[in-house]
């Protein structure tokens, strides 16, 4: 039986195959993100940095990363 789940990562619109029990922190690490450089929402809900290590991803999750930009 497969132990992979799939989460859609909106950074590049691609679907990534993730191992069972993959956490948000692991996904971000695989993508090469500096933990301090982004803020993250899963399915539209903010996930604080302190909870990334324990936040398990599930099939079909939408993960969106935000970064600071110039603004008015």
């Amino acid at each position: 039986m497969s132990t992979t789940v799939r989460a859609t990562v909106c950074i590049d619109g691609a679907t990534r195959a993730l191992h069972d029990g993959c956490t948000l922190a692991e996904l971000l690490s695989e993508l090469g993100h500096e933990p301090q450089a982004i803020a993250v929402a899963v399915n539209g809900e903010f996930v604080p940095r302190a909870l990334r290590l324990t936040h398990l991803l599930h099939d079909g999750d939408q993960v969106v990363c935000f970064k600071a930009i110039v603004g008015g």
Binding site: G13, F46, P48, C65, I69, G72
Partner: protein, 262 residues
């Protein structure tokens, strides 16, 4: 005398009443020089979803962070209270500040704030420990509702964002000032030229926030300096007491009748 010495924004004493936006500058160096020339101690930033293949920002954000100015992140792009609250929490984590410029747009053509969604978001964010700077219209009652949910600062528009039309409704702004004497009022949006900013300060507003008029000037650094002086001049004029306008002429030179008629 520095007329800005009495300015306290969200419990923070500031020397400058000029809040500057950071978007649209031709280069990071020009942005840096404009911040310096403006004297601004508060600068705005935004948040954006990471895009596929998106590159860096050429160092603009690093310039802003290194400026030493306080950061005021915004919730630009939000159309609902829920979106704005979520983005505000992200901004707090990402930029390490509980200050948030709350934007919830209700109309795509004018980018007019949605007063209902704005008030709902403001109330939630105040409960969550934010210092909320709501970008709002000049409508008195909706402004009062924002105060009712805990906002100490309001940022009514002068005109639609980026339009450069100046203060379209000075009466409404004057009314806000009169009816909300203990609220920090900052004109945000629509400022096109330095005299618009001076006018806002003459009305008794506490500060001015603008971006496009500086960033899109032929010489952004020079324009930042021009606005700095205009805001200072307007504030000093307000403190000194403005001459009340009247319909009829009033001679200023104390002559005695006509010069050659006895």
């Amino acid at each position: 005398m520095n007329s800005s010495q009495d300015f306290v924004l969200a419990d923070v004493p500031l020397q400058s009443r000029f809040l500057l936006g950071t978007a649209g500058y031709p280069s990071p160096q020009v942005l840096h020089d404009a911040i310096v020339a403006s004297g601004a101690q508060v600068v705005t930033l935004g948040l954006r979803r990471q895009l596929a293949g998106g590159g860096g920002d050429n160092g603009f954000v690093d310039i802003v962070k290194a400026s030493g100015a306080r950061l005021l992140p915004n919730t630009a792009g939000c159309r609902s209270a829920r979106e704005a609250v979520t983005l505000a929490h992200m901004a707090r984590e990402l930029l390490g500040t509980h200050w948030i410029k709350l934007e919830v747009v209700g109309d795509e053509h004018t980018l007019q704030p949605d007063p209902w969604e704005l008030t709902e978001a403001a109330g939630q964010l105040v409960k969550d420990g934010f210092e909320v700077f709501p970008y709002c219209t000049d409508d008195l009652v909706s402004a009062q509702r924002l105060v009712d949910v805990g906002c100490r600062i309001l940022m009514p528009w002068g005109a639609p964002i980026g339009s450069g039309q100046g203060l379209l409704n000075p009466w409404a702004l004057r009314t806000l000032r009169s009816r909300l004497p203990h609220v920090t009022l900052i004109v945000d949006a629509g400022i096109g030229v330095p005299s618009h900013a001076a006018q806002a300060m003459e009305l008794g507003f506490d500060a001015v926030l603008l971006n496009s008029a500086v960033a899109h000037a032929a010489d952004p650094v020079g324009m930042a300096s021009a606005f700095r002086f205009a805001i200072e001049a307007g504030r000093r004029g307000h403190l000194a007491g403005l001459l009340a306008a009247q319909d009829m002429a009033v001679a200023s030179t104390p002559v005695a009748g006509r010069p050659f008629e006895l």
